[in-house]
């Protein structure tokens, strides 16, 4: 029977060995690929993918060459479950194996969950500055801010993936339509050279003098893409013109329509929080007589009105702040030690690896102790 055969395959140790073998190849190739592709791209295309493709430079076709991390994880998971349901029989002398496998199961499931649920962002803070949002270092958003109301600003933020996929964006809160004429995932900005460069694609503001050129996406950990786009703003009556917007431009551009003033710009995507964090002090200690860093620390003030909370915290190396489901780490600094950069992680499943690993460690210890005692008993006999 076919079903029986499939069962047999999924319960077999051979499948485990094959998956582990592919796992090793995948991790090895993925590690080497980081030299050229950068760690983020490799994570997406190798470890967080179902299939790893090979694509010759310049070609527009690709062929799958390796199972990706997700596929291997799922097969191993099924293999493990099937083996335990259909093949394994419980015995005390196998208790270590059961514990280990339970831990591995939890580890794989936890890995999937944290891949799906965790959100990573950054909060750069200047000395004294207060913020109630963190920024996504990898994703940007196109924002349009209506500043005409005296008490508040009205912000419409359009996530990055819409810029790439949609030609026309009509948002209910905007009295106009956005026409994305061109989208640059990464770009270089330069002053337009009159006479030598082609005519400007943008017709308004900075875009008349500055032009964006598309370049390959950044691969290094410390590099950031400069995302740009040419956006035409069209009211029901007429087109207002085309703007060049970019995360590389320091400030927003301003235009008016129907008596309201709007700011337009691209910025790193923001995650707002119901509390605020203020940087009180940042220190960067060196070992005496050297420039080897000894410690980085940020003294911050956390203010959360809904919990009547207002306290100071020290965030330093290996000692993050865990607050309201998020964790703040001392990640970096800039601007001559005047800016501290905190890494912000939201990962609801952060405890699963701790459990999983305790289970596996314990399981291995139990199992190998059982082996060892039986070995010693045999030698004595």
């Amino acid at each position: 029977m076919l079903i029986d055969r499939i069962f047999k395959i999924f319960t077999s140790l051979k499948l485990t060995v094959i998956c582990l073998g592919f796992g090793i190849v995948l991790v090895f190739v993925g590690t080497l690929a980081q030299v050229h592709m950068g760690i983020h791209a490799v994570q997406e295309e190798y470890f967080g993918a179902f299939l790893v493709y090979w694509k010759p430079a310049g070609a527009n076709w690709k062929i799958p060459v390796l199972p990706g991390g997700y596929l291997l994880g799922i097969i191993l998971l099924l293999n493990l479950l099937a083996a335990h349901i259909f093949r394994f029989q419980w015995a005390w002398k196998k208790s270590g194996i059961f514990l280990t496998h339970l831990g591995v199961l939890l580890l794989i499931v936890g890995g999937f969950l944290s891949g799906l649920l965790s959100v990573e962002s950054q909060m750069p803070l200047d000395m004294g500055q207060t913020k109630n949002y963190s920024e996504d270092p990898l994703a940007v958003e196109l924002v349009l801010v209506d500043t005409s109301h005296p008490d508040y600003d009205e912000v419409v933020a359009i996530p990055q993936h819409f810029l790439g996929s949609e030609k026309n964006i009509q948002h209910p809160r905007l009295p106009f339509r956005l026409n994305i004429e061109k989208y640059y995932p990464n770009s270089k900005l330069a002053m337009r050279q009159p006479g030598t460069d082609a005519a400007a694609a943008a017709t308004q503001d900075i875009g008349i003098n500055v032009q964006a050129t598309e370049i390959p996406r950044a691969t290094q950990v410390n590099q950031q893409d400069i995302v740009s786009a040419l956006v035409e703003i069209v009211t029901p009556e007429k087109s207002l013109g085309t703007w060049l917007v970019s995360s590389g431009l320091g400030k927003d551009q301003i235009f008016s329509t129907e008596g309201k003033t709007w700011h337009i710009g691209i910025r790193q995507a923001r995650y707002y929080k119901p509390y605020s964090i203020q940087l009180l002090n940042f220190s960067h200690d060196l070992y005496p007589g050297t420039d080897i860093p000894k410690n980085f620390s940020s003294r911050v003030r956390v203010v959360n009105p809904s919990f009547k909370e207002d306290r100071e915290v020290l965030i330093y190396m290996n000692h993050p702040l865990r607050y309201a489901g998020e964790t703040y780490y001392q990640a970096s600094f800039a601007n001559n030690d005047k800016t501290s950069i905190l890494q912000v992680m939201r990962n609801p499943g952060w405890l699963t690896p701790y459990f999983a690993c305790s289970l596996v460690g314990l399981g291995l210890l139990v199992q190998f102790s059982i082996h060892l005692t039986s070995f010693i008993r045999r030698r004595k006999a």
Binding site: S12, L20, I24, V221, P288, K294, H319, A331, C357, R379
Partner: protein, 612 residues
Amino acid sequence: MRKWLPWLLWAGCALWLASSMREHRGPLDIEGAGRLPVLAGGRVKPMDTVARTSLLILHGKQSLEISKTETVSAMEWLLEVMAKPGDSNARRFLRIDNPDVLGLMGLQQTREKYFSFEQLKPHIEEIERQAKLADPVESGQRSLFQTNILKLYNQLHLYQRLKNTLQVEDSPDLPSEIALYEKSAPAGMQAVREREAGRKFDEKDFGLFLEFADRYRYLSQTSYAMVIPPPQSSTKPLEWMNMGEGLLRTVNTGHLDSTVALYADLVAAHRNSDNTRFKQATTQLRSQFRAAIPHELSRTDFEFSFNRLQPFYKSMVLYVAAFVLILFSWLVDSKGLNRIAFHLLLIALVIHTFGLVARMYIQGRPPVTNLYSSAIFVGWGAVVLGMILEKIHRNGIGAITAATLGFLTLLVAHNLAADGDTMEMLRAVLDTNYWLATHVVVVTLGYASTFLAGFLALVYIIRRFFHRLDERTAQSLGGMVYGILCFATLFSFVGTVLGGIWADQSWGRFWGWDPKENGALIIVLWNALTLHARWGGMIRERGLIVMAVFGNIVTSFSWFGVNMLGVGLHSYGFIDKAFYWLALFVLSQLAMMALAFYTAPLAQKRPSRGAA
């Protein structure tokens, strides 16, 4: 075997160790100077360590051959650099290997590898220009020439700083120079104050004072080591001062710091080869330090003895001796030789352990803090496990594997030490004894046990190839490899996971697919794969042996290979020369794996009476 033989062996080795601690018999009290504590590279160490690590960086060795018959110690060399820079400039000690770097200076590559500062002096501007061109290039992208010119530039920079540690190098007579400074300082300060107030001032006093101030500011900026400890009352134990800062402070305190004066005496005494005065200076400095920093002094004294003893070098020699003896015992079928080898190995392990613990005491850290110490610890772990196997099986297999791994890992460590101080300070994120003691130690034990399994498998392959493997030994070897692999899986898994937890604590992610993490993961996966294949009956004894040898390749990649990629948060130490050695090792292991498929029949006779 005669009962007294092991005792004789232990006594002989003790004598050998004691002989290396013997005092130096020269005209000057070099030892007294070498024991003086200084602060360099962020930690308090004996001057002797500064001398050894600096000479290692500049010359590649810890002593300097100045003629066919005469060799000077690192400390003698350093004293000359600091007190008689003119003489030292003429010595050929700077090692330059790269032909392009030599060509830049119009020098041909000959058998002479060492050059003097005087030879390089006319080309310093060009070296500096080239170094400035090479510096912005990322270390992974640099050409061989760029790497080497930067190395030379850094060497010259270090040499320059060493020369200007105790005095500005052109000083003809330091004590009279600073006596003049002390005498003229009050008048000079007066002139400065008058000038600031817009009154008439003595231009001669002012000019002299300015000259001194410039001179000592320069000294305070170039000085390599800080030699003046904080006063006893100080709450900041690391607030040391260098010679220049000490001299500049005279302006505020009104009198010359006594440590400064004593060091000036030391320089003058060395210059005049005045032994009595030299000894007096070192003794007085020592008694000052004993009052001000008693704890540091006992620690630096200990480090001085540790330097002299060179425990890892001595263990290496003993590991080789043990290896040869065991091999010989197999050839002549002698149980007695095997016992002697075991004792030799035990002595080597004791010295190795002493070295490891001594480093922990000096640094106040868990055993593994950098690549160098990981090599020492991998060797130590493998030797301990190998000796346990030997105790159980008593057939020389555990012992020969232990001896091989002990020697090889210490050799690796020896080559890694050429970068300078092996007890350098730890960068911020690593500055945590908790994770160094847990994650790093366990993951390193994982390396050690995977290597041990792999090297046991090598013994299997080689002995089988030479028809020296009977069925019983083969079986027991298979069992050893299997057992050690189980341990290796446990250690590497737990170690890797602890690393994940550390990463979660410090960077906010449990797993980031960083090369070092991936390397550790590959070891775990490979060990798991091997064990599952064995359990599933997909491989048998020989399969297990071949896969265990491949474990050596996997582990060496994880240990060193990933550091050569130069990406990710973990790549603190980039090593390029080691790449060729790694490639050679991988090839040798592949060859051994191929050899395993040459099926020699198992030996009929048991090869050794000692085999159990």
